[in-house]
Amino acid sequence: MSDTIVSILIVLGGGFAAVAGLGLLRLPDVFIRMHASTKAGTLGVGLIVLGVSVHFASSLVLAKAILIIAFLFLTAPVGAHLIARAAYRRGIRLWDRTLMDDDPMKNSTSQRNDSENSSPEKSASE
């Protein structure tokens, strides 16, 4: 019975990991690729570690598994936010079919050389 649960959890987690890799390869933009890697990747790893803890069924392994899952779920949004903020402030090009870009400095004359000058004004307006 527990083998069945472990098999389902592991294969489901592996499927999410494969979807995360596929999305990272196929999606058009840094900010869109981040969706695949952060959310699907973290969910897949969480399912796999949960399945491993079900298989061993000891309190020590369960504690390690909960520690891994809690750490991943805490750090994945922080890391993704840091990468996205760095990429957006450096002015990495968005997908050419993007409908809306909220940065007011992007519509002025020079986009890419202004990144040092635009950051204090942006932080002041926030």
């Binding site: 294969v11 596929l22 390869l25 491993v52 040092e116």
Partner: protein
């Protein structure tokens, strides 16, 4: 027990597929932010691989490896993101680098002609 081994092999194959696509994006990725995102995903998937190895080899010590890898991977992500944000002189796109290389080659060619 055969079904569990089969499931572990299937999950390992799927996770390694994710790892390979992440590595392809890390080599191809036109901007450094793509490479940082791919490095983040590869580290997270290595945690999954070490957990599956713990299951396949029936040794729970591989979970410690996964925990340490998660810690180091987060620090690497934060460090590379800070590096990308603070250093404004690193090129943003591989196309720009190739453009610069073409320009320097044209400059060298014109200098040789002069």
């Amino acid at each position: 027990m055969i079904t569990l081994e089969f499931a572990v092999n299937v999950a390992l194959a799927l996770t390694v597929f994710g790892l390979v696509t992440g590595c392809i994006r890390m080599f191809k990725g036109p901007t450094p932010a793509d490479r940082i995102v791919a490095l983040d995903l590869v580290t997270v998937l290595l945690v999954a691989v070490s957990s599956l190895l713990a299951l396949q080899l029936d040794n729970s010590a591989y979970l410690d490896l996964g925990l340490a890898l998660a810690l180091v991977g987060f620090l690497a992500t934060v460090g590379f993101a800070r590096y990308l944000e603070t250093n404004t002189h690193i090129p943003l796109d591989d196309a720009d680098v190739e453009q610069d290389l073409d320009d320097t080659q044209k400059d060298n060619a014109s200098r040789e002609r002069l």
